[in-house]
């Protein structure tokens, strides 16, 4: 299973593509792409890249744990939550930072 993630252009905030085609801050709202949905995933990547408002796009592998999305890589878990030390809240989108594909 995979999710799409990137950073929003103006704030640099970590964002995830959700089921409605919006880029959102919450990992748990991310659309999980199954293996057979690779076409949809590639299409979303292409449209997003063209739009230019979400950068540093990456496909991340995840598993579901008790129904919650759990990224395989430590890096992604830290990206989702913000730095562990010193502990800071993650970066948030500006008011005009919300993006749809």
């Amino acid at each position: 299973m995979e999710i799409l993630t990137g950073n929003e252009l103006m704030s640099g905030a970590t964002v995830y593509l959700d089921r409605s085609g919006k880029w959102v801050e919450e990992l748990q709202q991310a659309r999980v792409f199954l293996k057979e949905e690779s076409e949809a995933k590639d299409a979303a990547l292409a449209v997003t890249k063209k739009g230019g408002r979400v950068i540093s796009l990456e496909v991340e592998t995840v598993t579901l744990r008790d129904g919650a999305i759990y990224p395989d890589r430590i890096r992604e878990r830290i990206r989702a939550e913000g730095p562990t030390a010193p502990r800071f809240d993650r970066q948030h989108l500006d008011e005009d930072g919300h993006v749809s594909i």
Binding site: N7, L9, M10, S11, G12, A13, T14, G52, I55, S56, D72, R73, I74, R75, I78, R79, G82, P83, T84, A85, P86, F88, R90, Q91, D94
Partner: protein
């Protein structure tokens, strides 16, 4: 301190306006990310894990109070109230927004600062000894030459697209406090047979995935020919350095694969063409730049020493601070002070906006308006009267800056690691915090003595782990952070790369592993005055390997 001339001011102003326009065009969609990325990197703006990161140059680590206050203002206004001082004597802000960058650059330009050439395959910030111009053991103040190199390397058209980034460090004394043997070029002040001062030139040092100790390419280059000689090295590198593989593109690989003798011949051949031409540095220009770094108007101070032993009895924390955080000065009655940015449990190198303001105030009031960033991620007040020490210390205590641990086990160099950095594989800051907590007791630190721990969160080695007396490298293995421990590294004139002694440890086990190394050292040292690194050299790695892994 050096002050911008009209050319400097004009080019920084021009670049600021240029980048402001580029940001506006990016936000409007006129530029796409592929077009914008190299432009933002040329201006020190990276995209990290959580946000943009802006790296600001502090030329040869020297600032005045106005500049430090501007950094505090940036931290407060555009970031999250703190900044991170780096091993390149620069500062990084971890949370700026793209639309604020033009304003930040304007604020910086107003105090003669910028972020140009803090990224990219160009000549980066020239670094030097944090005690330059003040140290008792100095042959020459390296800052005038560092400033000339800054001017030469800034926007140098021939060296803007080198095979890879290029770092130059210099030391004006025989004691190397700038890790010059681990830079692409290292310059060490020296004298020739006639007693003239010039530069020993080292080339091909570096850390990262292929650590190398630099090799001496010339034993003596006089000031007047230094630019020509460095230009010759850069030309050889630009011509022959590999561009097909970024992991083999640094000059250390070229020197290693080609051999220093061949590189020296190529450089000498180029030097023969360039020497005596436009790059010859006129003495009057060197004198002009040197005047910017003239010694401050020292006062005659009656008190020329401080009774540390007495202070340790009367006020132990103050006594410890005096013992560890002062550096001998060339001027009687003065010292240089290291302000530790390594509090127990803190993130190494971080300072809050309030602390930056306080340090600026101290520099203005007590240190002839000057301060330094050290490559060991501390701040230095270079010119402080001994009689002012109690006042300076009291202010530092009030603001959480009075840790008396310079050069001790808790004075850890540490990269941002996986908590911030897009390249990292493992976290480094939490480990540094844990180690400082474990060894927090001042008595324990005093018992251990001089010991440098350096931590990197990936093989790129921004935390200089290869040259830590004890080095720690974070890696990721099967979804777990593991830490390799090296022993015996040394960044000084006795340059050495640490040895890996065995398998890695999970984070929870690292503090106890380090303690076993420390205990092995204490048990085997000849006397308390034999430092860890000297004991390691005498004993070899076996006892330390046994301490880590048992004698199986």
């Amino acid at each position: 301190m050096y002050r911008y001339d009209e050319f400097d001011a004009a080019f920084v102003k021009e670049r600021t306006a240029q980048f402001s326009d580029q940001v506006a065009r990016r936000l409007s969609g006129e530029l796409n990310e592929d077009q914008f990325r190299p432009l933002r990197l040329m201006n020190g703006l990276y995209l990290q894990l959580h946000a943009y990161m802006l790296r600001i140059a502090v030329p040869y680590g020297t600032m005045n109070s106005r500049q430090m206050r501007t950094l505090a203002h940036i931290a407060r206004t555009y970031d999250r109230g703190y900044g991170h001082f780096t091993t390149r004597q620069n500062i990084q802000f971890n949370w700026p927004k793209l639309r604020d960058i033009p304003k930040i650059l304007e604020d910086l330009a107003a105090v003669e600062m910028h972020a140009i050439q803090t990224s990219g395959n160009c000549i980066r910030n020239i670094t030097t000894d944090q005690f330059a111009g003040a140290a008792a053991d100095e042959i020459i103040d390296p800052r005038p030459v560092a400033e000339i190199l800054r001017q030469w390397s800034s926007l140098h058209p021939e060296f803007s697209y080198l095979p890879r980034k290029f770092k130059i460090a210099m030391s004006g004394s025989t004691a190397d406090r700038a890790a010059i043997r681990f830079h692409d070029i290292g310059l060490q002040a020296t004298t020739n047979g006639l007693g003239e001062i010039g530069w020993q030139v080292w080339v091909g040092g570096g850390l990262g995935r292929t650590p190398m100790i630099a090799k001496m390419i010339s034993g003596f280059v006089p000031h007047e020919h230094l630019l020509a000689y460095l230009e010759s090295i850069l030309r050889v590198y630009n011509r022959y350095g590999r561009r097909d593989n970024k992991y083999k593109a640094r000059i250390k690989i070229l020197v290693h694969e080609t051999g220093i003798e061949t590189i020296r011949e190529q450089v000498e051949e180029e030097f023969a063409h360039v020497k005596g031409g436009v790059l010859t540095l006129p003495q009057e220009e060197l004198d002009r730049i040197t005047r910017y770094f003239a010694e401050p108007d020292y006062e005659l101070v009656n008190q020329t020493s401080v009774d540390v032993a007495r202070e340790k009895i009367l006020n132990p924390p103050y006594g410890r601070w005096l013992e560890r955080n002062l550096n001998a000065h060339r001027q009687a009655g003065y010292v240089s002070i290291t302000i530790s940015l390594k509090p127990v449990g803190g993130a190494p190198g971080d300072a809050t906006d309030k602390q930056m303001d306080v340090i600026a105030d101290l520099a203005e009031r007590y240190s002839h308006d000057e301060l330094r960033v050290s490559h060991e991620q501390n701040i230095v007040l270079p010119y402080v009267k001994i009689t002012d020490l109690p006042s300076v210390y009291a202010t530092l205590v009030e603001h959480g800056l009075a840790e008396g641990n310079a050069g001790q086990i808790t004075d850890i160099i540490c990269c941002p690691g996986l908590d911030f950095c897009a390249l990292a594989n493992a976290r480094s800051i939490p480990l540094a915090q844990e180690l400082t907590r474990k060894f927090a007791a001042p008595e324990r630190q005093a018992e251990i003595g001089d010991l440098k721990i350096k931590i990197s969160g990936c093989i790129n080695a921004c935390g200089h782990h290869h040259v830590g007396h004890i080095g720690i490298l974070g890696v990721e293995k099967k979804g777990t952070e593991l830490y390799q421990i090296t022993v015996g590294g040394d960044a000084t004139e006795n340059a050495a790369i640490g040895d890996i002694l065995g398998h890695g440890f999970v984070a929870e086990d690292v503090p106890n592993a380090i303690e076993r190394l420390v205990d092995a050292y204490i048990a085997r040292r000849e006397s308390p005055s034999e430092p860890f690194i000297a004991a390691f050299r005498r004993l070899g790695k076996q006892p330390f390997k046994e301490a880590l892994y048992g004698d199986a």
